[in-house]
Structure formats: structure tokens, C-alpha cells
Symmetry: C2
Subunit: 214 residues, 2 copies
DNA sequence: GAGTACATGGCAGTGACTGCCAAGTTGGCG
DNA sequence: CGCCAACTTGGCAGTCACTGCCATGTACTC
């Protein structure tokens, strides 16, 4: 008996996931080849072997097909939520989650390669960057709720929001730089870039803690 | 002779600016009344007294009509660019520019009211929030270039990028909180919220400068 | 006052996305 | 096995955002 996830995986569900993935791959490839604007939903659907009407039952917009969340990504996110709900320091937990993902990139080239392809397309079109940001915002809301719950009655929601927003912004910069360097042929490590950014931000950090003391 | 801007303001240009503004107002009002998705370009155009075809000669998408940049805003941005090009500390200059704008809000209720209306609509639709972020990113590029120029040969572009991104993220949180509180009937001051956020971020700042020292 | 550059509006076309309906599949159950 | 119910798919028609093209008007130039 091949071990599958236990209860909620019927045969239908597995097919659905396969199709989801195939459509995402088709979209990614076409986006890379001819750009996002020049790719029609009809083409993506044809390339994935489904009708255009069905495409929209899998993804609400053509851009969404690019943001198919792979398993590793999801695992990291769930782990982060657990940590935070368990009372971990918010900023440290976020940092830990991303560093873990970045380390994964260095260890597993096939994951690294796919994420890099996706991020490269994202950086190439402002529209996609916008969608990526809305994704970040959605995820952030979940994280903020978790942190608020963990902090209990005396939760400082505003600070929690600001912390998450700042960390997200930093991560976006890391991805941007990662793509930029890789396009220059530099096989940069995302984790390395992250550490560079943190180091560079030390003066700003000092500035922040000083300002508050006034 | 009424003092106008000197060289590049013909009669045509003035009309254009008026129309730009009228269209933006029409869009804002309709968005507030019935939501962004439920408002068609035809309605906005009709309400502003132009044809739909002409609408697209003023704004590339219906969302863009919301992001009409008013004079105060532009003045602040230009001032910031000058400061940075003049060699001012980047984070301090950004902070200074925003605080100046926030103080303007407290002093001039009509500006405050309009910005608040716009931000309220923005916060109500994730897509608009995303557009706002991409706008910020575009403006950021200009600012980053200025900072890089000012720093000369030994400019640390990555740190500059990260600094600007982090500050932008913080400002977005401020606007979000400002809208949230104002919807609760609380006539909050954006400047006050900014100071609250900075104070709350002190531990994160300390965290950042400590991490870098490791 | 004529000529030119530009702004406007209409028209037709493409492409994203939705609701609706008909046909095919799948899964459960007697 | 056979049958019903639930679900999935694809086609069709419709709305709306947005674009290129062209004819007509309006503003600046000399």
C-alpha cells in the first residue's frame, strides 16, 4: 500500500492536483517564452490540454497560475504559523522560516531552479509583482492573527503588523536581488543575500531603537 | 499678470490637468459609492463628462485614476530627492519627508480628508493595495538612484534598496492603521501613529543591529 | 488667417472572465 | 452489476477592460 495522505485524498482530488500543476507548468513556460501580456488563456489551456472555461475553474486569473504553491513552501508557512502560535518571538520565527527555505534552495537545486524561474517572471512584470504582494498580504494576515492570539490580551497589534510588513519587504528585496544576480550569471545563494541585507540594515536598526528612546 | 509656472504651461496643459483631476474625483466618488469592481469605466467617463475612449488617454487603467498625485505629495517627493542627492542620511531623510506630510495633514484638513478617502478605498480592495505597493516601488527606484549617486563609487545598493523598502513598508502600515482608526470614528493623527510604530519597532531594530554583529 | 500639431469621440476588434446549460465521469450503494 | 447523485467538463453567449484606426474639431504658430 503506497502511503498517501490519510483522509481527504480521493482519486478525484489527486487528479485535480495533477492538473493544477500541469496548468501551472504550462503557464510558466509560456510566460517565459513570450511574456505574460502576450500569452492568452486560450494558449495556456491548449498547452495544458483543457478548455479555456476549465482553466478558470482551476485558477481565477491567468496570473494566479504562476503562483501555484509547491509543497515545500507550504510546509515552511505552516511551520511558521505553528511556531508563532507556540509563542516564539515573531521576528525571529519569520527569519528562521525564510532562512530554512533559502537553505533548502542551496541543498536542492531542482526547487531552487523552479522558484528562480517563477521569481524571474514575477520581477519582469509590475502586474505580477502586484499579485505577489497581494499574496504576501494575505499570508501576512494569517500570521498576524496567529501572533495576536499568541500574545493574548495585551497584544500590540500595530507593532505586530509593522514587524511582519518590514520582514516581508526585506524578503522581497532579497528575492529581487537574487533574480538580478542570477541574470548576471552569478549563481548567488538567497540565504547569502539575506544575510547581506541584514548586515546592511544594522545602522537602520540602531536608528530605530535610538529614535524610540527619545 | 497672474503668476503661473513659467515655461511649460500652455492653456492646453492647464485644461489637461483640470480634466485629470475631475476624472480622478469622479472615479473616487464612484468607487466609494459602489465599490471598484462594480464601477465601470463608462460610468466614470460619463460622470466626468468625457468619452470612455478619452478616459484611457488620461489614465491607463481605471485603478490608476485613484492614484492621481496631488501637488503636496509631489512637492514632498521632490524635496526628498533633493535632500538625498544633497547627501542627507537616507533613512532620516525619508522619515523627515513623511513626517512633514503627516504634519500637513494635521494642519490642513482638506488635504487630510482627501488622502483619507483615497486610502480608505485602497485598503478596501487587495488589488488596489497591490497597485499602491507597485507605485511605491516605482517611486523607490528614483529614490534609490538618487541615493546611489550621492554615495558615489562605494555605494551599497543592496542596503539602500532594503532601507527604502523597509521604510515604505512602515509607511504603508501607518496608512493602514490610520484608515482603520478613522473608520472607528477615531480622528487619529497619522504622525502620531507613525511615532507609535517607530516606538514599537525598537526591539526589532535592536534585533537587527545585534544579528549583524554576530 | 492659414497651416499644423494635438485632443476628442466613435467604431471595431481582442482578450479576460462569468453564468448557464448540456453531456460525460466518478463514487457510493442497494 | 446497475443506478442515482454529485461532481467535472466544455461550449455558448454576454459583459467589460483596453487598443488601433480614422474623421472631426480645437488650439497654438507663424
Amino acid at each position: 500500500m503506497t502511503a498517501e495522505e490519510n483522509p481527504p485524498v480521493g482519486l478525484r482530488e489527486r487528479r485535480r492536483r495533477e492538473t493544477l500543476r500541469e496548468v501551472a507548468d504550462a503557464a510558466l513556460t509560456l510566460f517565459e517564452e513570450r511574456g505574460v501580456a502576450a500569452t492568452t488563456v486560450d494558449e495556456i489551456a491548449a498547452s495544458a490540454g483543457i478548455s479555456p472555461r476549465t482553466f478558470f475553474r482551476y485558477y481565477p486569473t491567468k496570473e494566479h497560475a504562476l503562483f501555484h504553491e509547491d509543497a515545500e513552501y507550504r510546509a515552511i508557512r505552516v511551520g511558521l504559523l505553528d511556531d508563532v502560535r507556540g509563542g516564539a518571538d515573531l521576528a525571529a520565527a519569520i527569519q528562521h522560516a525564510w532562512v530554512r527555505l533559502f537553505d533548502d534552495f542551496d541543498r536542492r537545486p531542482e526547487i531552487r531552479a523552479r522558484v528562480l524561474r517563477v521569481r524571474r517572471v514575477i520581477e519582469s512584470e509590475p502586474m505580477l509583482l502586484a499579485r505577489a504582494v497581494t499574496n504576501d498580504i494575505d499570508n501576512a494576515d494569517e500570521l498576524i492573527d496567529a501572533a495576536v492570539d499568541a500574545a493574548g490580551a495585551h497584544a500590540d497589534v500595530l507593532t505586530i503588523r509593522a514587524t511582519v510588513a518590514a520582514m516581508d519587504a526585506i524578503i522581497r528585496v532579497v528575492f529581487g536581488e537574487w533574480v538580478r544576480r542570477s541574470e548576471l550569471g552569478d549563481a548567488a545563494s538567497a540565504g547569502g543575500i539575506y544575510r547581506e541585507v541584514i548586515a546592511g540594515l544594522a545602522p537602520l536598526g540602531a536608528h530605530l531603537s535610538r529614535d524610540a528612546a527619545e
